[in-house]
Each structure stands twice: as C-alpha cells, then as structure tokens.
C-alpha cells in the first residue's frame, strides 16, 4: 500500500515522525507511532521477520537500552531493588517508575527510528524518489546521491558477509574476548569494506560522467513519480501529527497529554 505513495511524501513522513518524537518525547507517543509503523510493514507486505538475525539484534539492543536507562535513573518513586537488602548489605540498584518510563522512552524511540527507516527504504523506489525530489526543485545531483546510496546498500550487505567469512577462514573469531579483540574485529571489518567502497567510487564516477551525468541543468526521466489525492490527504495527516507534537510539547493539549 505504501509503495504507491509519492516518494518525497514518504521521505517527509520519515522526517516528520522522527522529529515529532524528538519534540514530544513521551514513550506512549513513540509506542503509538511504532505500532503505526509496524502496521505499515503489514499493510505493504514487507516482511518483518523476528527470527532474522538483524531484527533480533535490534530487539536485543533496544532491550539493553531499556535496562541501562532503568538502572541508571535513580530519581522517582522506588518500586523495588534489583539487589535486595541482605543483612547489613544493600539494598542496591533501585528501580523507579521514572526510570522505567525513561527506559521505555529510549528503547521505543530507538526502535521507531530504525524500523521506520527500514520501512522507508523497503517501500521507496530510489529512481522515483530522485524524480520527485527534482520536482521540489532540488538539483538532481543531490537527489542522485540518494539513489546511489540506496543502490549500493544491498551490495555492502553482501560484501559485509564475505568479509566476515574471510575473517573466519583466517581463524579470526567474532567471539567477545576482551576490548582489544573487539576493536580489532571492528578494524578488520571496517577497513576492507571501506577500501572496497572507495575502489568503486572511481569506476562509478567515470561510468556516470561517461553517460553524460551533469551534461545540463535538467534531465528527463523515463519513469516519473506522481502526486494523487491520497498523497495530499496523507500530507495533511502528517502535518497534523507534527502540529500535535508541537502543541503537546507546549502543553496546549493538557487532556491529551494526560493520556499519551
């Protein structure tokens, strides 16, 4: 369903959602938007497979963010202690209601930003995005930077896997053995990928120059994005969302901010 929306609108939507939760950082608000995002995945038939390693990693990371916030926030009403009082020791590590709220706020916001970006990438055709951005008078040189970034994403994914395989074949295991080993593994992954990416830059820029990229200020497009009535109504909804977040943050909607 989201596939058919105007690409620039989708980009605007992504920006508005991430700004809205920065303006009004309530965990209920983030949760609501996250539910909407997950609904977006379902509605556009983009699989959100929890068994996939990447999704699992994101969930684990957000759980860690939650735990970290909860343990680090000491103010608020104490609900219980992680390490209870024992004899004369303790109690240690209080868990407070404010801490839990903070934890939800961080972890939900993290998931929202990551998932909505993932959704955006999966439902947006980069070539149409470039066209629709040009319509907004953005020079095509810039909009094509986006197209190329999106074009090379799948390639980097494959290359990352190859580099990890090459590491394993050399006996470099990714198991966590001390900080220096972790740093080493990061270096061993980062440099090969960076060099491989840079080595592609020359070939790519020659190939674009060689096909007249930048020949004149405008260019034509074989496939064009369109703007429909649905796009207009979604834009209105998104603007209302942004406005609502501002009003909520300023305290103009006390009845609603009491709920979310």
């Amino acid at each position: 369903m989201l596939h058919r929306l105007n690409p620039s609108l989708k980009l605007a939507g992504l920006i508005i959602i991430t700004t809205a939760i920065l303006i009004y950082p309530s965990w209920r608000f983030s949760g609501l938007l996250l539910l909407l995002t997950i609904f977006g995945f379902k509605a556009s038939n983009v699989p959100l497979d929890v068994s996939k390693r990447r999704i699992r990693f994101l969930m684990t990371f957000s759980a860690l963010l939650f735990a970290f916030q909860v343990l680090m926030t000491v103010n608020g009403t104490i609900l219980f202690f992680v390490i209870p009082k024992y004899d004369f020791m303790g109690p240690f590590l209080p868990v407070t209601d404010f801490g839990i709220e903070k934890g939800f706020e961080m972890s939900l916001r993290f998931l929202l930003v990551v998932f909505s970006s993932m959704l955006f990438v999966s439902v947006t055709d980069p070539t149409l995005l470039a066209h629709s951005l040009t319509r907004l008078r953005i020079p095509y040189r810039y909009s094509f930077a986006l197209v190329i970034a999106l074009r090379f994403l799948p390639l980097f994914d494959i290359e990352n896997k190859t580099v990890r395989m090459a590491q394993r074949s050399r006996g470099i295991s990714t198991s966590v053995r001390g900080m220096s080993k972790i740093l080493r593994t990061i270096r061993y992954t980062f440099f090969p990928l960076l060099v491989s990416a840079l080595s592609r830059v020359d070939a790519l820029s020659l190939s674009m120059d060689g096909r007249g990229f930048g020949h004149s200020r405008t260019r034509t497009y074989l496939r064009k994005s369109s703007w429909t009535a649905i796009d207009s109504s979604v834009l209105v909804l998104l603007s209302m969302l942004l406005l609502a977040s501002i009003l909520l943050a300023l305290g103009f909607l006390p009845q609603i901010s009491a709920i979310i």
């Binding site: 980069p126 070539t127 999106l150 074009r151 120059d209 096909r211 007249g212 004149s216």
Partner: protein
C-alpha cells in the same frame, strides 16, 4: 574514425605510462589490444574515452581526434556522446537499482524525450540479448548479465565507438561465446570496437586486428600467447588407503528460496589438485565455502581432515584450510604486508613457533619481499592477490581452496600461484581451484569436478571430463582449453 596522435601520459610526471602512442580505431572493426598488467592498456582506454585529461589528472600531451576533428575543447559529456567506455568491473559501474533505469540513465542525462528513451532501452537491451532482464533489480544479476547491462547502458547513448576493458575477465565460457556474438553483431551494425584483453584466446576469433602495448609503446602483436604452458601433471595421488582430506556427504545450501548447492557428495584425497568448473551461478563458490566450513550445510555434513566441520572452531579450520576469495580487498586485514603475513600465526597463538624462514621465503616467492612495510591496500590488484595467497598459505595448511585465483594475474602472479598449488599437492596436501580456464584444468589439475545448477554433473580426470563435456553440450569449455 577514433584516433590518438602522439599521446604520452604520466600519472606522477615520472613514470611514463604511455609514450608517443598512435592508434586508430575504425568503424565496423574490432581492434584488440593486449599486453602485460601495468602496461598502460586501461590508461589508453581512458585517453580514448576522453577521461584523460578531463577527469583524471596527470601529465598529458598529444591529441584525440574523432572523425579527423580535434576534440581538445570538448567537454567530457560531449565526447561521451560518441565514445563509450565499459570498464572492467561491471558491478561498480551500475548506478541504479533497476535494469531499465540503468539503460535509460544515459539518454535521460542528455534530456532525450521519454518516448524516445523507451525505444532506445528496448533496442539496447535487444542488442545484447537481454530484453528479459528489463524489470530485474540490478543487484540480483549474475556477472555476465551485469556486463551485458553495462554494455546496453552505453549503447543507449548511441555512441559510435565502444571501448571495453577486459570484458571477458569474469565470464564463463558460455558468457564469452555470448559476448563474442554481441560484439560481432555490434561490429556489423557499424560500431568501432576496441577490446582490451588479457585472455587473448577469448576474443581472438572475432578480432580484425590485434595490437600489443608494452612499456608504453604500441606494436603489432607477435602472435603467440604470453603464458608458456607447462606440461600436464601426472596424477600424484597417494595409495587408496589414504584418508580423504575433505569430505562432503549430501551437502546442500540455499540462499532464501534459491538452492545454490544440492546434495553434493565428494571426497578429496592427498595429492589431488581439483579444478572446480561450471557456469556462473552453478554453486562453485558456495561449495568452496561449505567445504571450508565457513557455511554450514543445511542438509548433510562436511568433514575436514575427518572431523565434522560443525565441531571445529574458526582456528581449527584456519590451521588446516587456506581459502582465497574472489575480491582481494575483502581478505586483507592488517596495516602492513609483513603483519598480514604473520596474522595467521598471531590468530593461532603460535607466534613463538613460526618456522624461521617460511614467512619471508613465501613473500620472496610472491615477489613482495621488498614491500614488507607497505600498506597492503596500496598494492596493485595483482600484488594484493599474491599477498592473499601468500598470507593464507604461509603456515602450510593441508588444503588450499582458491576461488578464481588467476583473474587479472600476469605471468609472475600465475607462476607463483601455480607453484604454491603444485607444491601443496606434491607434499601430501590437496587443492581445489575454481576456474573457467580449461587450459589450467588440464595442465595444473589432475581432476575436474563440473557443477550444474548446484549439483556435481561430472567428476574425473581432466581429459575424460572435458571430452564428455563436449558430448553433452558444454563444448565451449573444451574449445577454450584447446585454443590456448
């Protein structure tokens, strides 16, 4: 006619890459330029396509003429209208996600009207027999398909001259035949074509003239292929009682819904040097990863030195198996050549037991001894490849698994890699190398395993397998071997 007059070029003002070169490329003709790595072939192509001196810096003298007109003052986009360059690596040249977008990219930049662009996309894809690819995502294409799309995307700009830099480098024999057909078709419709080619035998049958570039000078090709082939090896296989070094029992692997390897059963014994052959996408690289214990078989088991690879740690595997992957940049990790060479000992915690002369000896053989303090990423492609081989074999593991090790290698590189493989076989180890070159298979290897759609189709001594391939419709594999 496209021509260069008295062209000299140097990147650093010291080493002359091209030295007073004169060359003419006529319409309706296929010109081939060959020469050793580093002889300036690609640089010459960059001059012909106008990138030197417009985009790439260096000291340039001489002139470029298109149809007797000096184009000194033209912008790159003006020259690109007439001369198109297809570079070596098709992957890096593709700038969009959809094949038809990619082919439309050029005409769009020249503000051609959409109606006309649609026609051009159709015609260009047709010319490379790839109309069926129009709606496919570019990242999901095979190597040969990517290359045809890269050619089509240049044709869509309606140039008069087409320059191709090592177009056959990563193609299987079928892909090469298709490329020959495509180029012949283009020649007959009036294009002037220049091919830069290392593997001369792949393009020789369709060439109208062959030139040689060496030490910056162009001369007529002397008529013999540079790589002096050695005599075929005997089958130095040990007695049958020997234990297999690698075993796959019903090994399978799939990426999503695509079954890359299906139910492969094979054993590799000491002394065997196996050529793993098959069309692009037949599962050769995946099988290598399975045998190396880097991927875990989704059905069946693989054994390394009689131990199931699932029960081995990364270190256990690295101590026994050396793997060289296709792209050299993906397998260099350290900051100097020296450290890269010692990395495996560090990882295996055996720095104290390094056999004193071995690491230096291998670097010397690889021709890298005087580059020890260099950053390996700054080496040339050929040197990187030799470092890959040298750094994974320095501790003399039992089995070598090399994925297309000879691509882009000149004579020094070929000799070094051939020698390391041969020695491993003679000293009781084994090697498997993925290759499309049946000449390599017959001279270096004593066994060919031929794969088709993820399964082993043929397995046996090189001569028998190649003969059989000819009978069952894979004649092109045998042909290219005979040619060289």
């Amino acid at each position: 006619m496209l021509e260069v007059h008295d062209v000299s070029f140097s990147y650093d003002n010291e080493n002359m890459i091209l030295d007073s070169v004169n060359l003419q490329i006529r319409r309706g003709e296929i010109t081939v330029i060959t020469g050793p790595t580093g002889s300036g072939k690609s640089t010459l192509a960059l001059v012909l396509a106008g990138f030197i001196p417009r985009v790439i810096e260096g000291t340039f003298t001489g002139s470029l003429l298109i149809d007797d007109e000096n184009v000194e003052k033209e912008l790159i986009s003006g020259i690109a209208h007439k001369v198109a360059l297809v570079q070596q690596d098709p992957e890096s040249q593709i700038s969009t996600l959809l094949v038809s977008d990619e082919v439309a990219f050029g005409p769009e930049n020249y503000s051609v009207v959409p109606f006309e662009i649609r026609k051009r996309v159709e015609v260009a894809l047709n010319a490379v027999e790839s109309s069926h690819l129009a709606n496919r995502p570019t990242y999901a294409l095979s190597g040969g398909e990517k290359q045809r799309v890269a050619i089509a995307s240049m044709l869509a700009g309606k140039p008069d001259f087409l320059l191709l830099d090592e177009p056959s480098a990563s193609l299987d024999p079928k892909g090469i035949q298709q490329l020959q057909k495509t180029l012949l078709g283009l020649k007959n419709s009036g294009y002037g074509i220049l091919c830069i080619e290392h593997r001369l035998e792949t393009i020789l049958p369709i060439a109208d003239r062959v030139l040689q570039l060496s030490k910056g000078k162009i001369s007529k090709w002397s008529g013999k292929t540079s790589s002096a082939r050695t005599t075929p090896v005997e089958r130095f296989r040990l007695p049958d009682s020997a234990k297999p070094l690698l075993v796959a029992k019903g090994a399978s692997y799939s990426y999503g819904t695509i079954n890359a390897v299906r139910d492969v059963t094979l054993s590799v014994y000491p002394g065997e040097i196996v050529a793993l052959m098959g069309d692009n996408g037949s599962g050769k690289s995946t099988l290598i990863s399975l045998l190396a214990g880097l991927l875990h078989s989704t059905g069946g088991t693989t054994y390394i030195d009689c131990v199931p690879s699932t029960e081995m740690t990364a270190q256990d595997v690295a101590a026994r198996v050396a793997v060289v992957f296709q792209n050299p940049n993906h397998q260099i990790f350290e900051r100097t050549v020296q450290r890269e060479q010692y990395l495996v000992f560090d990882v295996l915690d055996s720095l104290d037991e390094v056999p004193s002369e071995r690491p230096e000896g291998v670097l010397l053989a690889a021709g890298l001894a005087n580059l020890k303090e260099r950053n390996p990423f700054s080496l040339s492609h050929g040197q990187k490849r030799r470092l890959n081989v040298s750094s994974v074999t320095v501790h003399e593991p039992l089995v070598y698994l090399f994925d297309e090790p000879f691509i882009g290698q000149d004579e020094i590189g070929r000799n070094f890699i051939t020698q390391s493989i041969r020695k491993r076989g003679e000293s009781g180890g084994a090697a498997i190398l993925v290759t499309h070159d049946s000449a390599v298979a017959t001279t270096l290897c004593n066994r060919i395993i031929f794969m088709e759609r993820g399964s082993v189709l043929l397995d046996g001594s090189p001569k028998i397998v190649l003969d059989r391939l000819g009978e069952i419709g894979y004649g092109e594999y045998a042909d290219f071997g005979a040619m060289s």
